[in-house]
């Protein structure tokens, strides 16, 4: 992954005119309506919106786990094709393989890709260290706290070196303290490694703290309502989330985004 930000004409991932209609017994559910979103290389894009507006659906389509009704997903200007390690996903419910240890879970993507044993061990160990999981390498998921499980899921998604990391409310199932620690961890990750990330949340604070750009979706059927750039050099980048959230600039952005979401919730 490069450390300089590409501002070229082609985005890393381009979500183009994506709509989604689910046929349910109760009739058609229009979840998404012509969503356009381009994510540049190295950019951390956070999608916020009222609950049920189609955020998860958008991410499933971006991951190739769900087919769009119209529109398409491009990666580096080419149709993205089915799900695969090019776009890995961190789910809210962790989705770790219960029969595998922490190290085996992290090695999964390398193993199915046929990476040889020595290389696999090297990269897993490196990833364990990077996510501060080394002492848990032989534990099973059910022996870990939620926060630790989510670290494993992040490590498992990163070790295959995806072009884009997709995260769907990854901290939604965690308690407040664990969530804060992991938010700071992800901020560190994206600072150090400059990953391209599409991150979904309903926490405005989390969005402003982590994002280079915050995308607000309308209530269902979800459309992209507004995009708000967060300055890369914002003063709070270096602070922890507790301190950051009392910075005037941070509060201002938070208020602005909240106002947008509020009107969408009221509109429902």
């Amino acid at each position: 992954m490069t450390t300089t930000k590409a501002h070229g004409p082609t985005a890393k991932m381009d979500i183009r005119g994506v709509s989604k209609t689910f046929d349910t017994r109760a009739g058609a559910v229009h979840a998404l309506d012509r969503c356009d979103l381009a994510i540049r290389e190295g950019e951390f894009v956070v999608v916020v919106g009222p609950s049920g507006c189609g955020k998860s659906t958008l991410m499933m389509i971006a991951a190739g786990l769900e087919a769009p009704s119209t529109g398409q997903i491009l990666v580096d200007g080419k149709p993205a094709g089915p799900a695969g390690p090019q776009r890995t996903v961190v789910f809210q419910r962790f989705a770790l393989f219960p029969s595998e240890t922490v190290a085996q879970n992290i090695a999964f993507g390398l193993r199915v890709a046929g990476v040889d044993r020595a290389e696999r061990a090297r990269r897993v160990t490196e990833q364990l260290e990077f996510m501060r999981l080394s002492q848990f390498r032989d534990a099973y998921p059910h022996e870990l706290s939620g926060g630790m499980q989510q670290r494993v899921a992040i490590a498992r998604a990163l070790v295959v070196r995806p072009e884009i990391l997709l995260m769907d409310e990854p901290f939604g199932a965690l308690d407040a303290q664990t969530r804060t620690v992991l938010q700071e961890e992800v901020a560190r990750l994206s600072r150090e490694m400059n990953y391209t990330v599409m991150f979904i949340t309903h926490s405005v604070e989390e969005a402003v703290y982590l994002g280079d750009r915050v995308v607000v979706m309308s209530s269902r059927p979800g459309r992209i309502k507004k995009e708000i750039a967060i300055p890369r050099d914002a003063g709070w980048r270096r602070l922890d989330i507790e301190e950051a959230s009392s910075e005037p600039g941070f509060i201002e952005l938070k208020r602005e985004i909240w106002a947008l979401i509020r009107t969408e919730i009221v509109r429902q």
């Binding site: 799900a83 890995t88 996903v89 219960p98 029969s99 595998e100």
Partner: protein, 273 residues
């Protein structure tokens, strides 16, 4: 915690307390048995002989052949039939159940068949088995096979079918193909439930075998029980029943042990045996 004392029944016992409670309940049962069957105790030894007479019957069965075979040979005959029928059922039922859980179309094809088979008591197959195969071992193996295959298939199907779809999604995004997902994710995750199905199946096979031996056998534990009841040797009848019960319980314990060995990660193992 400190404000309310937990009731005796809800406090988890220590190892020693647990053993004491288990032994205690057995001792009480034997005591009551002995008390009721002692001379003038209310129950005639013709209906229920006292414990020491049953023990005598057991020792006699061990030392002398009964109905042409030693006790060991009778047990072996029963075990052989039950294992053959159960394993054969597993050879067919396990892959079939997994396929039905994984591929919708396999489920559509095979599920109705098993829905019709399920409510037919395995014993209802005995007359047919006798017509087809005569009163021999193969008839009993066949009936055991029928009794075992239904839970093998149904539980294996359920085990695979109820795998969390999110695990499959996760595996897909990590680059796994269908075969890798089926073997590395689905079957491994389903393993404890698959073994539980095997256990239920073995239990079914065992009870059905004993019943089949009552009708179509020349050796085996059920055959002993049937003959002993005809000759009113209640002691021997009780010994046969006790062995049937103990072996059945033993199977269950062994299968639990198997789960612990093949799926050491299974959460269910953390809770009592």
């Amino acid at each position: 915690m400190a404000t309310r004392v937990r009731s005796f029944w809800r406090t988890p016992p220590g190892k020693i307390a647990w053993l004491a409670i288990c032994l205690g309940s057995i001792v009480v049962l034997l005591g009551a048995w002995w008390y009721l069957t002692r001379p003038g105790g209310g129950i005639s030894p013709l209906f229920l002989p006292p414990p020491d007479e049953v023990l005598d019957a057991f020792v006699r069965l061990l030392s002398r052949p009964y109905l042409g075979s030693t006790l060991g040979q009778h047990i072996a005959a029963s075990l052989e039939v039950v294992m053959t029928g159960w394993l054969a059922a597993g050879l067919v039922g396990l892959p079939l159940g997994i396929a039905m859980g994984w591929w919708r179309k396999a489920r559509w094809v095979a599920f109705p068949i098993f829905q019709v088979l399920r409510p037919v008591p395995p014993l209802a197959w005995i007359p047919l088995a006798i017509v087809w195969l005569g009163i021999g071992e193969s008839a009993r193996v066949f009936v055991v096979f029928i009794a075992a295959i239904v839970p093998w298939v149904m539980n294996s199907m359920q085990a695979v079918y109820s795998i969390d779809a999110l695990l499959v999604s996760a595996a897909l995004t990590l680059g796994a193909n269908d075969r890798q997902i089926l073997t590395r994710v689905v079957c491994r995750t389903a393993l404890p439930t698959l073994v539980a199905g095997a256990r239920i199946s073995l239990g079914n096979a065992w009870t059905t075998l004993v019943a089949a031996e009552l009708l179509a056998a020349t050796s085996g534990l059920g055959y002993i029980a049937l003959n002993a009841s005809r000759t009113l040797e209640i002691g021997i009848l009780l010994v046969a029943m006790a062995i049937i019960g103990v072996l059945g319980a033993l199977f269950s314990v062994i299968m639990q042990l198997v789960t612990r060995i093949v799926a050491p990660w299974s959460r269910a193992n953390a809770e009592g045996a």
